[in-house]
């Protein structure tokens, strides 16, 4: 490559004076960047194509609670409900803990302590999904089913609690899947909340302290109003993760189809788990239906992620500018 004295720093226009290798490299880099968009479009197109026969034969019946491959019924409402329910449980359990750790890291502990804490929380993310599943089905489920059983008999007949935790109870259930998913999304919600909270200007904190606020009053008065929006984004991203998490859920959710109930401690199914467990034996409309579930899952998670990233980015930019 020969040096090009005519190109000023950074802003060289694509002129003939630039050596071929230089332009070639730029095109290569651009192509790699575009690859992301190409893959996303290809995912949407190819999976929709494979699912087309499901959409066309079932029509609006795809949104009924009737999944029965033996009689060629492929309504997926139950799986959508299971996905929403488990993801919601995971978020409700994980968010207070994650925000608590994020506040601990940014507002309480000194910097040299915060790094080991970050490492430990990140370890939760290093444990592979399938290992959570293995531990879940062989250790956690047998252990927690006794708790479910005793809590269930205790709250039987109590208005709201009875409807949520009452018998019949089973170790492998929506609630178990939600708990395991909560462990898995804690690191990402923590790290994103921490990033958002770190953008709060130091001067706001000092102002609150100067007025005589305690640390907690400083957090609710100065940190929280600033980082609220971003934390909502982080929570949405956690929700998206929990919706798409496959293998751990597939092992502990209990694998029961067409379950829509207020009971949290009964076996059910979510969308990724049913794809993972049934795809191998599927063909024809059955396979198309599972592909269609994949398409729906893709659409749901894309919508949630676009929303969440938008919120996180906007709040981060506004705070930095302020």
């Amino acid at each position: 490559m020969k040096a090009d004295p005519a190109s000023p720093a950074g802003s060289a226009p694509l002129s003939q004076q630039r050596p071929l290798g230089d332009r070639g490299f730029q095109i290569l880099a651009l192509a790699s960047g575009l690859l992301v968009l190409v893959i996303l479009v290809l995912i949407a197109v190819s999976t929709s194509q494979q699912a087309a026969s499901w959409f066309s034969t079932e029509g609006l019946k795809i949104f009924t609670n009737n999944w029965d491959p033996a009689t060629n019924h492929f309504g997926v409402l139950g799986f959508i409900y299971g996905t929403a329910l488990t993801a919601l449980i995971a978020v409700i359990l994980a968010v207070p803990v994650s925000v608590g750790i994020a506040l601990l890291l940014t507002e309480v502990v000194p910097y040299r302590w915060s790094r080991p804490i970050v490492y430990v929380v990140d370890l939760l993310a290093v444990v592979p999904s399938v290992v959570w599943g293995l531990w879940g089905i062989l250790v956690f489920v047998p252990w927690i089913q006794h708790i479910y059983a005793s809590v269930g008999s205790g709250v039987n007949g109590v208005p709201v609690l009875g409807a949520l935790f009452g018998p019949p109870t089973s170790g492998a259930s929506f609630l178990t899947a939600g708990i395991i998913l909560a462990f898995m999304i804690t690191p990402i919600v923590t790290s994103l909340s921490r990033e958002v909270i770190a953008t709060v200007p130091q001067i706001d904190r000092e102002g609150a302290y100067a007025l005589g606020a305690t640390r907690w009053e400083m957090i609710t008065g100065a940190v929280w109003p600033h980082s609220q929006g971003g934390v909502v984004g982080a929570v949405l991203l956690g929700l998206g993760r929990a919706m798409g998490e496959t293998i751990a859920a597939a092992l502990v959710i209990g694998s029961a189809v067409n379950v829509i109930t207020t009971h949290l401690t009964v076996p059910g199914y979510n969308m990724p788990a049913v794809i993972a467990n049934q795809f191998g034996e599927a063909s024809g409309t059955f396979r198309a239906g599972l592909m269609g579930l994949g398409v729906l899952l893709f659409v749901f998670t894309i919508i949630i992620n676009v929303l969440a990233r938008g919120i996180v980015e906007r709040s981060a930019r506004r705070k930095r500018g302020a």
């Binding site: 720093a9 893959i39 494979q50 490492y119 293995l134 606020a213 899952l297 992620n305």
Partner: protein, 298 residues
């Protein structure tokens, strides 16, 4: 929004007392409790995997072959087909995703600038990290497996798709930290943009890029869902990653987890310990690279 609403009493320079102080204490304790709560499942999982896996793992377990049928007890055969599959498939995925991801990050930071296309690609790459791994598996199944059959290569494609946005994000963050005067100095010497990028900017950011890539590899090595419909499962080693079904450690754990046989479960724990060890080694390597070779950090 920025108004401080909390102290309702008149400003008081003495230390907070009574309920205000107790509330502050309680909330601080709750924050510490939040951290302790996450330690419980983590410790529980690691303890179980190490306790159950350590008695299974041996040289023979790691290098023996074939993987025996579920009913047989542990100690016969070994996990070599799965270890080999994991190494080959993850390695191939790395070869695809890391160069492309770094190039994509170079586009975002060095060429795209503040343009709309770079903003769109950066945003969609972040969104792509949220695409469920099982959808990647279905995607590769429909564009590759249906036409060319199951193979390690198909699995590597699926893992590569998962790794790509992670590598782009981490490399982009690292490239952004390289100070502009470094670039300007090289331009002043008459270097072309590609040359500046490849010989000045990239080496300056290399430590961070390598450590980000290692974390992406650790993530991909533990993924099961994208491999379910792309490589299937076999019990004998398949060194030809380009054709024929293959297997991997996560796939073996998944298929053994639901077996009622003690031998199968033991093999599951052994494979889980092996997999966790691989992921931890990658993570520790990433930390070492970060600590020793990163020139610029936040």
């Amino acid at each position: 929004m920025t108004a401080v609403a909390a102290p309702r009493q008149a400003p008081d320079l003495r230390e907070a007392k009574g309920w205000r102080r107790s509330k502050n204490r309680i909330m601080t304790i709750l924050m510490v409790a939040a951290f302790v709560i996450t330690l419980i499942p983590l410790g529980f999982v690691l303890f179980t995997v190490i306790a159950k896996g350590a008695s299974i793992i041996s040289w023979q377990f790691l290098t023996g072959s074939p993987i025996p049928p579920n009913v047989l007890p542990a100690g016969i055969g070994g996990m070599w087909p799965a270890v080999l599959g994991t190494l080959l498939i993850t390695g191939l995925a790395t070869l695809m995703a890391v160069p492309l991801g770094v190039l994509g990050a170079i586009y975002l930071n060095e060429y795209g600038g503040r343009g709309w296309l770079a903003a769109l690609i950066g945003f969609m790459s972040d969104v792509m990290t949220g695409v469920p791994s099982i959808v990647m598996g279905l995607f590769i199944f429909s564009i590759w497996v249906l036409h060319f059959g199951y193979s390690g290569l198909a699995g590597a494609f699926a893992l590569g798709c998962l790794m790509l946005p992670i590598v782009i994000r981490s490399s982009y963050e690292m490239l952004r930290l390289v100070p502009d005067p470094l670039r300007e100095a090289s331009y002043a010497l008459g270097a072309t943009k590609s040359r500046v990028t490849l010989t000045v900017v990239l080496p300056a950011a290399l430590g961070g890029i390598v450590s980000g890539a290692l974390l992406a590899i650790a993530r991909a090595a533990g993924e099961t869902a994208p491999l379910l419909f792309t490589i299937l499962v076999v019990s004998t080693p398949n060194a030809n990653v380009f054709s024929g079904p293959n297997t991997s450690l996560p796939s073996q754990i998944f298929s053994n987890a639901t077996q009622p046989y003690v031998g199968a479960q033991d093999r599951g724990w052994g494979a889980a310990l092996t997999l966790i060890a691989i992921c931890f080694i990658l993570m520790i390597a990433a930390r070492i690279v970060t600590a020793r070779f990163t020139r610029y950090s936040r």
